[in-house]
């Protein structure tokens, strides 16, 4: 059986969907941290998260950057990526759409110029996020409201949605998801998955943000 190391900051962020995938896939895996920024340049694209996979003989199979490349790679391995070309493409598009929302949040929260942050937050909360969620909910309706994005099977799209909702409710409060009961049902579904529940409830789970240095 392969062994995986997921290298990232000790927080959820862009690695969390991969962590849920490793858990849901029953993989042999561990978190690793890196000396940052000292180790940055030694990484293939100067970025984390980074997935390192070792085969049974302990040889490195792949060293992979980019959260979505990691997610796709793991999802395919664990049968959580769709069962035909069209399902794969639909799930891809949902992941990328959730990524857009995630990036929009990161933009206003961390990257926008200080003087413009409040304005960008307004746009995010009043337009970007509600619109994005509306479309994500609509996909579920199209699939018959059975809590899955395609077919009748868990995929990494539900896992990423769970991460997004957890993230957004932590920072924006529970109100924004109330208009979308279909999304809440996906969140409930993921929470009930045995492995995921154990991971999420574990006191060892990394925090949503890393604590400030020195604390």
């Amino acid at each position: 059986m392969s062994r995986y190391e997921l290298v990232y900051f000790p927080m959820r962020g862009k690695a969390e969907t991969s962590r849920l995938l490793l858990v849901a896939g029953g993989a042999n895996w561990s978190n690793k941290t890196a000396q940052w920024p000292e180790e940055k340049d030694s990484m293939p694209f100067g970025q984390m998260p980074l997935l390192i996979e070792y085969n049974e003989s302990g040889e490195e199979v792949i060293r992979l950057a980019q959260s979505h490349a990691i997610e796709r790679y793991l999802a395919r391995k664990f049968g959580l990526a769709g069962s035909n070309e069209i399902e794969i493409a639909i799930l891809d598009s949902i992941i990328e759409s959730i990524r857009d929302l995630h990036d929009a949040f990161i933009y206003y929260a961390r990257k926008a110029p200080e003087v413009e942050k409040a304005a960008h937050r307004e746009t995010y909360l009043n337009t970007t996020l509600p619109n994005g969620l509306k479309y994500l909910a609509r996909f579920l309706e199209k699939n018959g409201n059975n809590r899955y994005y395609v077919g009748n099977k868990l995929s990494y799209a539900e896992l990423y949605l769970y991460v997004l909702v957890e993230f957004a409710t932590t920072f924006e409060g529970p109100e924004f998801i109330k208009p979308y009961p279909e999304l809440q049902r996906v969140v409930d579904l993921v929470q009930k998955h045995t492995g995921v529940k154990q991971y999420v409830d574990s006191p060892d789970r990394v925090p949503i943000f890393k604590p400030p240095a020195g604390k």
Binding site: P44, L64, A69, D92, S93, D103, E116, Y135
Partner: protein, 205 residues
């Protein structure tokens, strides 16, 4: 029978050109639908995420999101690897390309012109060269003339399109010739440019 494919976007290259080129290279016929802003406004809500580009398959299934479409058509065009590790490397590049888009996009949102100028200058002199530096390093380790493996993939097409877009000089205060400083990447861009089907597509459009 091969499915009917329609690519819908605005009348420009931007996020649809890699898809159009992939289909052209793969000799896959498709309907190249280009909408005006007014037409888009009317149809927007019918699209999966209210956005373009979209791919419509057999007049019924609609796939949105540029890279989801690119992977889908790439498979049929022989431009997306079958081996999981090679696929992951292409995905890695596509994700990295989105990071580059995000870095550029940040400067598009800024409203204050002085701030925008200084952001663009930082983009041009630091951020983009640094990001392309990682790509150059990775590509020069294998030096096959392609980003992944030893044949053309959708990753190379995306790089070629980005270089073409930069060279149009649409980004104020950003050098249009940034990629000239990265010889391995420039060879890859040249390989795509020299592809017969790419030449034919460019001449026709």
């Amino acid at each position: 029978m091969a499915p009917h494919l329609k690519v819908t976007y605005f009348n420009m290259k931007a996020r649809a050109e890699p898809i159009r080129l992939a289909l052209a290279i793969g000799d896959i016929p498709f309907e190249d639908e280009r909408l005006t802003r007014e037409q888009f406004a009317e149809l927007k809500e019918t699209y999966p995420f209210g956005q373009l580009p979209i791919l419509t398959i057999d007049h019924k299934t609609v796939i949105a999101q540029q890279h989801a479409i690119l992977r889908y058509v790439g498979r049929f065009a022989g431009l997306y690897p079958e081996d999981p590790i090679e696929q992951a490397k292409v995905d890695q590049f596509l994700g990295f390309a989105e990071d580059i888009n995000f870095a550029v996009g940040k400067t598009l949102h800024t409203t204050d012109p002085t701030l925008k100028k200084s952001q663009r200058e930082e983009l041009s002199s630091k951020t983009l060269p640094k990001l392309f530096g990682y790509l150059e390093r990775s590509a020069s380790q294998t030096a096959t003339g392609y980003l992944v493996g030893s044949k053309l993939t959708v990753a190379d097409i995306v790089l070629y399109c980005f270089d073409g877009w930069l060279r149009m000089g649409v980004l104020d205060h950003v050098s249009p010739t940034i990629l000239d400083g990265f010889p391995t990447l420039m060879k890859i861009v040249e390989n795509v440019r020299g592809n017969e089907k790419v030449k034919a597509w460019n001449e026709a459009h």
